[in-house]
Amino acid sequence: MKREPSLGRRRFLVLAGFALAALGFGKLRAAAATPPATDAAQALARRIAALPGRRASARAVGRAYLERQPEEAHVERLVASLIGDATSHEARCLIDDPDALRRAVRARCRRDFADGELVAIGGWLLARSEARISALAHLA
């Protein structure tokens, strides 16, 4: 009876190990690139919340806005109102591209102006999206 070479078994095991490792690494990479929806929204929320710069001011404005609109105190919904579906490819691309994110948010603000969607906070008339960005800063 011909014995199967033990090296072959070891080779198989090694290859299988590599294969499993490669598969796991790939999954890990995929997981890193496409986190679950909530995580994507959270990641976007953090990026958006950083846009106003002075965090304390953004939080104060956000708090004032949410006191008036408590039903909007929901990160995913706020992100959706600013960016759309957080799990979409376009939205995910914005996570690592602050300039594109800023442009997208600014376009959203312009649409608010065109639609007359303004909010008065501290006297300044903000586009509603500007207030929502601040709300994210408060919630983040």
Partner: protein, 528 residues
């Protein structure tokens, strides 16, 4: 001819075809029109050629409503009337001003802009204005300026013309002096109008001087052109024929007093002040003076059920530090105070920080402000001129205190209609903010509260007295008819802004002169 009424023998009766009471913008315009006719005209003026304290004091009165300027300080009682001190801003009313708008109670004129336009054109001559032309596109190249970068669909760049300003008393004294058929009497105060027994015809005006002389004028036609408040006062004083005053059978005389609602409502932080400011400057061109303001489109007014209004931007040297350190503007909603170390900063300052941080317009505006840090050039105060809503409770009445002629003085009970006017100010300001944001021109801070009537405290008048003898075809809704004839009286007319049913957003002088010229045509036609 011009005479001194103090030389008229006591008790004398003067005769004329037309007696005009008051030598202000309306009265002098009317008198000048009549120079080309043969009929005899008497023009009665309370003052002389120069102001004098004793005559001016006849204008004193009591303020019992919304705070207002002293009544003897907001108009002039001498030859030329308040043209002695007017600013000269002229433009016709808008088409929508003449319409009955369902959301504006008591609105609607019994005539249209189209029918008044020939008279507007003629009114340019006494006001020494340029061509009858108010299109921004016409004037902007003549001003040597770039068009304002506003597309005009909702907010419209508009132009007003400026009279030098013409002091009618000085400019047209010679015209009256040389006239063969117009005789002016100075120091002649109309005291009361008498009517026949049936109270259908005015028979005479009784007049007096501060020196004690009394005389009267009989005429075929009488025209009250004594100023918006005094027109009503004289009708209320004419109680011999009717206990409540002539033309007051429905209790309307003196009601619907209006003043333009002039309110500083916020600050505009432009991205580039140099692109904005020139448009709002006063330019003295060869043809006339002009300046720019922002109007609100008529479709938008209809859709949003607001009053007519305009926006005027006044460059103000607001320094960056003042805005940076500003606490919330008065009346702005507060929210909770920040809970961190920034608690000493107001919410308004935080909001401005957010706008700067988000970049775009606010960041660019901030950079401009910073650049202008030492120069002081910066932001604009936003002033809104809002048409007042006609309000029957806003009125002039007779007080119990007599003037030096023994006549009851006036009491002014100016009332606003805050629900409609406040709604207009807020909606229009938000429209302005939205348009400036959409076009990337700058940002707006609202300095009045989002709700409530506290803004009313900041309202000041524009020295534009309107209403009190309003025009309506129905005698139960107006003191004068569409021809400016007092309802029920065949020969008594009213000239001046007292006949306006609504006040528009435009200054009233050009319109009151246009109406006076229209009235002149009617009287001349009747006499010929």
């Amino acid at each position: 001819m011009i005479h001194d009424a103090r030389n008229i023998p006591d008790g004398q009766t003067l005769e004329a075809d037309v007696c005009i009471i008051g030598a202000g913008a309306a009265g002098i315009s009317l008198a000048r029109e009549f120079r080309s006719h043969r009929f005899r005209v008497i023009l009665l003026e309370s003052g002389g050629f120069e102001p004098d304290a004793e005559t001016q004091a006849l204008y004193q009165g009591e303020i019992i409503g919304h705070a207002y300027y002293p009544l003897d300080g907001s108009r002039n009682r001498y030859f030329g009337g308040t043209t002695a001190t007017w600013g000269g801003m002229c433009l016709p009313f808008d088409a929508i001003d003449f319409e009955a708008r369902p959301w504006v109670p008591h609105s609607g004129w019994p005539l249209e802009l189209r029918s008044l336009e020939p008279y507007y054109r003629r009114a340019h001559e006494p006001c020494e204005l340029g061509p009858y032309e108010y299109r921004e596109a016409y004037w902007t190249p003549r001003r040597g300026k770039r068009p304002l970068p506003i597309d005009g669909e909702l907010i419209q760049p508009r132009i007003a013309q400026f009279s030098p300003p013409t002091h009618f008393g000085s400019a047209y004294r010679e015209d009256i002096w040389r006239s063969e058929n117009v005789t002016a009497y100075l120091y002649a105060n109309a005291l009361e109008l008498d009517a026949d027994e049936s109270v259908r015809t005015v028979t005479r005006v009784r007049a007096g001087t501060l020196a004690g002389g009394r005389f009267s004028v009989t005429a075929k036609y009488f025209v009250l052109a004594a100023h918006a408040i005094e027109n009503a006062r004289l009708l209320l004083l004419s109680r011999s024929a009717m206990p409540d005053g002539l033309g007051n059978q429905h209790g309307l005389v003196g009601r619907f007093f209006m003043e333009r609602v002039n309110c500083r409502s916020g600050i505009f932080a432009p991205v580039d002040a140099r692109a904005i400011e020139p448009f709002f400057e006063n330019d003295r061109l060869e043809e006339c003076g002009v300046n720019g303001f922002l109007g609100i489109s008529e479709p938008w007014q209809r859709d949003n059920r607001v009053l007519n209004s305009s926006i005027h931007l006044h460059a103000t040297p607001v320094r960056l530090r003042e805005v940076e350190q500003a606490s919330d503007p008065p009346g702005a909603e507060g929210g909770s105070p920040p809970s961190d170390a920034e608690a000493d900063r107001g919410l308004g300052t935080h909001a401005w920080e957010v706008l700067k941080g988000l970049g775009g317009d606010a960041r660019a505006a901030w950079r401009r402000w910073w650049d202008a840090w030492r120069g002081g050039e910066i932001a604009f105060d936003i002033w809104q001129d809002v048409e007042p809503a006609p309000n029957p409770a806003s009125r002039v009445l007779l007080s119990s205190e007599p003037d030096s002629l023994g006549q009851p003085r006036i009491m002014l009970d100016w009332r606003l209609t805050p629900s409609l006017e406040g709604e207009t100010i807020r909606k229009t300001l938000k429209l302005f903010a939205a348009e400036m944001g959409r076009l990337g021109l700058g940002r707006v801070r609202m300095d009045i509260a989002e709700d409530g009537d506290a803004w009313v405290e900041g309202v000041v008048g524009s020295f534009h007295h309107i209403g009190t003898t309003r025009m309506h075809v129905d005698a139960r809704q107006g003191v004068v008819d569409e021809h400016c004839r007092v309802h029920g009286l065949s020969n008594l007319y009213v000239a001046g802004s007292s006949v306006f049913p609504t006040a528009g957003q435009a200054n009233p002088t050009l319109t009151l002169i246009a109406l006076a010229l229209r009235l002149g045509d009617r009287i001349a036609e009747q006499l010929s």
